[in-house]
Symmetry: C2
Subunit: 210 residues, 2 copies
Amino acid sequence: APPQATIRRLSVYLRYLSGLENDGAKVISSQDLAGYLALNPAQVRKDLAYFGEFGKRGVGYSVKKLRDHIIKILGLQQVRKVAIIGAGGRLGRALALYTGFEKRNFKVSALFDNDPRVIGTVLSADAGEICPIENLPRIVKDRNIEILILTVPAQAIKEIYDLIMLSGVQAVLNFAPFKLISNENVVVNNVDLTTELESLSYHLRLKEAG
Amino acid sequence: APPQATIRRLSVYLRYLSGLENDGAKVISSQDLAGYLALNPAQVRKDLAYFGEFGKRGVGYSVKKLRDHIIKILGLQQVRKVAIIGAGGRLGRALALYTGFEKRNFKVSALFDNDPRVIGTVLSADAGEICPIENLPRIVKDRNIEILILTVPAQAIKEIYDLIMLSGVQAVLNFAPFKLISNENVVVNNVDLTTELESLSYHLRLKEAG
Ligand SMILES: NC(=O)c1ccc[n+]([C@@H]2O[C@H](COP(=O)([O-])OP(=O)(O)OC[C@H]3O[C@@H](n4cnc5c(N)ncnc54)[C@H](O)[C@@H]3O)[C@@H](O)[C@H]2O)c1
Ligand SMILES: NC(=O)c1ccc[n+]([C@@H]2O[C@H](COP(=O)([O-])OP(=O)(O)OC[C@H]3O[C@@H](n4cnc5c(N)ncnc54)[C@H](O)[C@@H]3O)[C@@H](O)[C@H]2O)c1
């Protein structure tokens, strides 16, 4: 099976190919694709070969065909409905109002929180009002939510874990600094923005050490 | 040199070891560290061996020593000052007000934007008022800013690129969906939150395909 890093690079290729198609480009070589993205051409070829894309020697890949294929591989032909837990908070609100998700086929379709002061607030027409967290299982089923985004404090993760499992959702994107583990029913991606800063700090230290 | 993925796992080990130390644990085996984090014990040992940490056979690693060592490896003994460009926007504002960064030694010390309606706003006492983007090079030097966080639209990246290079900053965390490439002076981490959703969509498609 292709590694996680290959799947993430597919998203980067997709974004670039979409730009190329808009500009009217018909073909692209692994050399050019790699050059623009500061990647290794052999790595690009290896990533695409996992999915049977080998390109034509000396010509490269068809921009349209490759783009359409990556869209299918990532399952992006249909709209994926997303819900945000902690939508009354700072990060939750920023994600709920972000128009960039819809451009790439993710639609924020439900919002949840446990703070009575924010329940009932309407952040956007599509997502409707912020619902109480107890209604999560019912609303996930009613609105066919496929992905839950967690923007609650780390200590709240344990409180809502059972509700998440009860809801039947199969994918979770967790922003709390607490590693939530995938199981056979739910795949979890953990994003810790502070880890991103720590990885930059590592490089700063290397420069300091000379 | 250790791979990027090893550096990111160090952050995860650090977070877990800090919790253990708070609970009074003295030693931990690679088995237990891996078990709790759903990782492979051999991977944990390999990650730590890059930095000369081998643990004692049958006993494991000293929690305190290992934690202190990882803090040094990641360069987290001192406070790293951070500035946010696009601080008047939704994501920028959420990051500017986030108290979690300071707990891990990152201090938001300057805010920038180009929208006259938000310039002069004070989001937090530490960061001061939102400054005009033209003042970036001077303020980065005056306040010893080491990391820039970019939360501007993708098309604004080209506009501010020269100012970023002029500022002399050595590390950038970019949230705009536009791959900014590292060079010999500036290391860049690109975070595309939509790519996180696309990687989850890939797993959803695999389940759909059965
Ligand atoms: N704000 C950021 O930029 C940022 C950056 C990195 C990480 N994070 C992480 O994202 C999470 C949210 O951060 P924030 O700054 O938005 O915090 P916040 O306090 O502004 O928002 C948290 C929200 O979660 C809600 N909540 C708490 N417990 C809940 C529960 N049991 N069920 C439903 N809702 C619940 C709260 O009512 C609140 O609206 C935290 O885990 C934080 O560590 C945030
Ligand atoms: N909001 C989110 O949850 C989210 C999620 C994923 C990605 N992003 C990305 O993060 C970035 C910010 O998103 P947002 O939703 O906060 O947008 P936003 O429009 O709310 O904020 C953008 C801010 O950047 C400022 N800006 C624009 N051009 C500038 C320039 N040349 N110099 C300085 N400041 C400038 C604007 O004045 C505004 O305050 C975008 O690239 C977006 O794609 C945001």
